[in-house]
């Protein structure tokens, strides 16, 4: 049969901006976030957390707490360790990565301010918190290793003496001939030291779990605000001594995640263990203050970098020296070495270099653990790379757009393997840059900037090209020994009323996963979108899968759904062929009915086919298969990752008296291959851009020298507000991946990957008349005014 592609089918929803089916529920306040759920006999847990960055427990007195009103149980680390085994966040393929066993509750030594120490379970959260205040812990404060720059210095306390030192991981990669490029007498070398500020995700819904262990059947059900239910199923089973099949993880509505809710957290593990200990449901919902010190942080990097550029504008080499502090433990099971590793992989990524050298040094420190947050490593690598490119342009007197044109990988060079070892199937840097410059009227904007400069108004234009890792294969985690699926499945079923049910292993946190799946399957089967409903986020009812992270939902989960939808259509046509005495090849499904493929004339409504198959199977030929359900799985196999690319630009104004930055416009052109729902993709880009802008300008986890988080509330930790954010123009270039029939690559992290670099370059463009530059994020007045010599 001549198979029409999903995009070409007559009733395709691919490429159409339809609203999300689940949005109506959410605008009516009828979401079901974990803290909205209530179960019979449910109790609540609150945690006493370490007030110190590093301290030993001398004794714990829970007498008063146990006697407090409503208290059901008080559990210390030693008791918890008997129920929940510790974990170690390492992966084999990150060679040399080491970490120490981490417990759900501190057993004898707290290693960061905020680490959970004692769990108090009570009838209400308020009563649990009251009793936490009555727990007496005698602490012996220990010297803390706080500053990552000093982590490996003599005299700095070694956080885990068994590990020998505070070095968690290091990796150096050399490609081509960087030394020769830097030694070339004809080249100019530019350099800078970049800082990306430690920040965090701040999901408006804090982390939450409602764990319900039923001792009668020996099964745990965890209602979890999480992105990866199957991964958590494995983790709960392994560390609570259960079989995987006896653990069910349910993720209903998730109030933001961005990578924050894809890691193993000690307080959540403790909650599941408490449910097993008590044999009743236990709820934990992190409040904002405890979230700020216990959600993973990210992007705490210092990068010394340099680039060599010829006088005619060829960037020949880059050299990167990255240092990052990850807190006292490598986070389980994805590890905290991935971010630094990505910096090594991604710097220089858009360009055709002759030499590349990069090193990351990942160290332990007594601060909140860091791990993967949206666009892992990308905003760091892009800030460094694009900062160097602008420095190179300035050094040789070339326009920033022109130097990119001369150095970006050509659009016809693919497939291509770069000096960092990344394999690119097909990118579109030049097409994206060209589109970006046209969208923003680059020449007009430059003229406006220059005219205003003469009037004492300092505006800047910043451009950033970037690459983005999406659709990860087992090369991301599986080869390192982690039971994190790179494969995802979809089951598609036709019900008697002609409606279609989808169950998918990828998950929804508001990206539009369920809308995307519905659009793909509606088109593949041939039904109206309103006839499709989607189930995600339940290990008991969906095919096994990885969940949603690393921009894999559409590219992997979507492809599985497409294959399953196609298979269901074939099943329908075989049955319809028998019923209509026609060759299945002569039929198609369109608009909720079986039709003649050539004429489109309706032959049989799906509802009627459903009625016959389910209720009058006696009228069908005996040997006719009557399966109206199909499951398909998909794993990327040709490439370790489907790289995408794009370009962003920022236009902003710096008040050189106050140091404040006003964002005026922002543009992003990106290439995620096949766009399934342009509106949803654009909104992913915009949301990602603003998270990048937050890190670039506002968000900062500031610590005291003693390791106390000083920005631990939303009064101190600044998030982007609508009044200070610009309108964001988004456009696309489409280079579908040839690996899948759908051709979709990821889009969820592109915005975050490029935004900080564009802002950095725009600020430095605005400051150029003063010879001032800033490379330390967030770019606050406290950074800009000293650069201007004002303070």
């Amino acid at each position: 049969m001549n198979e029409l592609s999903s995009v070409d089918r007559p009733n395709s929803y691919i490429g159409r901006s339809v609203p999300r089916p689940n949005a109506k529920r959410l605008v009516a306040g009828r979401g079901q976030y974990v803290d909205d759920l209530r179960l019979p006999r449910m109790v609540h847990v609150a945690f006493l957390r370490s007030p110190h960055a590093h301290a030993r427990i001398l004794s714990i007195d829970s007498t008063a707490a146990k006697a407090a009103p409503g208290v059901v149980r008080v559990v210390t680390g030693a008791e918890m360790a008997a129920v929940c085994t510790p974990w170690v966040g390492v992966l084999h393929h990150l060679k040399g990565l080491k970490s120490a066993p981490q417990h759900a509750l501190v057993v004898d030594r707290a290693c960061w301010q905020g680490e959970p120490v004692v769990a108090v379970v009570a009838r209400t959260r308020a009563e649990a918190e009251d009793a936490v205040g009555l727990v007496e812990v005698a602490w012996q404060e220990l010297p803390a290793a706080v500053d990552m720059e000093a982590a490996l210095a003599t005299g700095t306390p070694v956080i885990h003496p068994d590990l020998g030192d505070n070095l968690a991981f290091t990796r150096e990669h050399v490609g081509g001939e960087p030394d020769a490029c830097f030694a070339d007498a004809e080249s100019v070398v530019v350099q800078a030291v970049f800082h990306t500020g430690r920040h965090t995700g701040v999901c408006l819904e804090g982390r939450a779990i409602l764990a319900d262990y039923n001792p009668a059947e020996g099964r745990l059900t965890a209602y979890h605000s999480n992105q990866a239910p199957h991964m958590m199923q494995t983790v709960f089973a392994k560390h609570l001594g259960l079989r995987e099949g006896d653990v069910r993880v349910v993720c209903r509505d998730v109030g933001g995640s961005y990578g924050i809710k894809v890691h193993v957290y000690p307080d959540e593990m403790a909650t599941a263990a408490l449910s097993k200990m008590l044999g009743r449901p236990v709820k934990f919902a992190a409040d904002r203050m405890e979230g700020m010190v216990s959600d993973i942080h990210a992007r705490d990097h210092r990068i010394a970098a340099r680039a060599a550029v010829t006088k005619d504008g060829v960037i020949t080499a880059m050299e990167i020296d990255d240092l990052t502090g990850i807190g006292p433990y490598s986070v389980y099971p994805r590890t905290s070495a991935v971010e630094g590793n990505q910096v090594v992989n991604l710097c220089g990524g858009p360009y055709g270099l002759r030499g590349y050298k990069a090193r990351t040094t990942v160290v332990f420190q007594n601060k909140t653990p860091t791990c993967q947050y949206r666009a892992v490593g990308h905003p760091i690598a892009t800030t460094v790379t694009e900062g160097l490119v602008d420095l190179a342009a300035e050094a040789i007197g070339m326009d920033p757009a022109e130097i990119r044109r001369r150095n970006l990988l050509a659009d016809d060079v693919y497939p291509f393997r770069n000096l960092a070892g990344l394999a690119f199937e097909g990118l579109s840097h030049h097409a994206c840059l060209t589109k970006l410059l046209a969208m923003m009227d680059y020449e007009g904007l430059k003229a406006e900037r220059d005219a205003l400069r003469a009037k004492g108004v300092y505006r800047g234009i910043g451009i950033a090209s970037f690459i983005e890792l999406t659709n990860p294969s087992p090369f991301m985690y599986g080869i390192g020994g982690a039971r994190i699926s790179a494969m995802d499945g979809a089951t598609v079923r036709l019900d008697p009323d002609g409606s279609v049910a989808i169950a998918s292993g990828v998950t929804e946190q508001g990206q539009g996963t369920e809308a995307m799946l519905a659009q793909i399957v509606a088109g593949a089967v041939g039904v109206d979108l309103s006839r499709v409903r989607v189930t995600t986020g339940d290990t008991e009812t969906t095919p096994y899968g990885g969940g949603t992270w690393a921009s894999r939902g559409a590219g992997i989960g979507g492809e599985a759904a497409l294959q399953a939808g196609n298979a269901l259509r074939e099943q329908i046509l075989v049955i319809a062929g028998a019923m209509l005495q026609a060759a299945p090849e002569s039929l198609d499904v369109r608009g909720d009915a079986v039709v003649d493929r050539d004429t489109g004339a309706e032959r049989l409504p799906l509802e009627e086919l459903g009625r016959i198959v389910y209720f009058r199977g006696d009228t069908l030929p005996k040997d006719l298969p009557r399966e109206l359900v199909a499951t398909r799985h998909y794993t990327p196999k040709d490439y370790p990752f489907a790289f995408t690319n794009g370009a962003q630009a920022s236009y902003l104004e710096v008040d050189v008296e106050t140091g404040f930055v006003k964002l005026l416009r922002h543009w992003c052109v990106e290439d995620c291959g096949t766009v399934i729902n342009p509106m949803l993709v654009d909104e992913q880009i915009r949301g990602g851009v603003v998270q990048g802008l937050g890190g670039a300008l506002l968000e900062h986890c500031v610590y005291s020298p003693e390791g106390q988080l000083l920005t631990g509330s939303l009064a101190d930790y600044l998030l982007p507000m609508s009044g200070e954010m610009p309108d964001i123009a988004v456009a696309h270039v489409e280079t579908p991946t040839k690996e899948s029939a759908l051709g979709a690559k990821g889009a969820g992290e592109a915005g975050t990957a490029g935004a900080p670099a564009a802002v950095q370059n725009a600020i430095n463009d605005a400051l150029r008349p003063f010879g001032a530059r800033v490379f330390a994020q967030p770019f606050t007045p406290a950074r800009i005014l000293p650069a201007l010599g004002k303070i």
């Binding site: 109506k24 976030y33 109030g255 508001g510 509106m679 507000m721 309108d727």
Partner: protein
């Protein structure tokens, strides 16, 4: 210690005996099962718990429930049932002005409050008007579009 509390919530008379320390948003969520109002920060910054008390937008986490004695309270559930925010809700869905949806009930209250005071706001006025409500997913652009669209409807 517990105190008696009587008020009107979403048009229904409600009486309860509660601890005086209970915040209004917790009362709505835990006692009345009105889980549409969300506790995002519990210190008055994020706006996810925004509700209407006697016609004014209030942060449910900064007001004690006992302070609402005799008050008329409206939450997203009641505003939905009466159709009071239907145009905004329709525009939010059509424009995808929400992703995870956690900020949305509070955002709708803020948007309705803005449009009541200023039925035809500019984009800048909308941006200012909802600046007390954080959205972590959308980047705000789509929310501004949706409010603009609802104002024109």
């Amino acid at each position: 210690m517990k105190l008696d509390l009587s008020l009107t919530v979403n048009g229904e008379a409600v009486s309860a005996r509660i601890e005086p320390r209970m915040h209004l948003v917790d009362f709505l969520r835990e006692v009345l099962d009105l889980t549409g109002s969300h506790a995002g920060c519990e210190h008055g910054v994020c706006g996810a718990c925004s509700i209407l008390v006697n016609g004014q937008m209030v942060r449910g986490c900064l007001m004690l429930a006992v302070q609402a004695e005799g008050a008329e309270v409206w939450t997203v559930e009641g505003l939905t049932e009466t159709g009071a925010i239907a145009a905004l809700q329709e525009a939010f869905v059509a424009r995808n002005a929400l992703q995870c949806g956690f900020c949305t009930p509070g955002m709708l209250v803020a948007a309705a409050t803005l449009l009541k005071a200023n039925p035809t706001p500019t984009r800048e006025e909308i941006r200012e008007g909802i600046s007390g409500n954080y959205c972590r997913c959308t980047g705000y652009h789509a929310i501004i579009d949706a409010i603009e669209q609802a104002a024109r409807a």
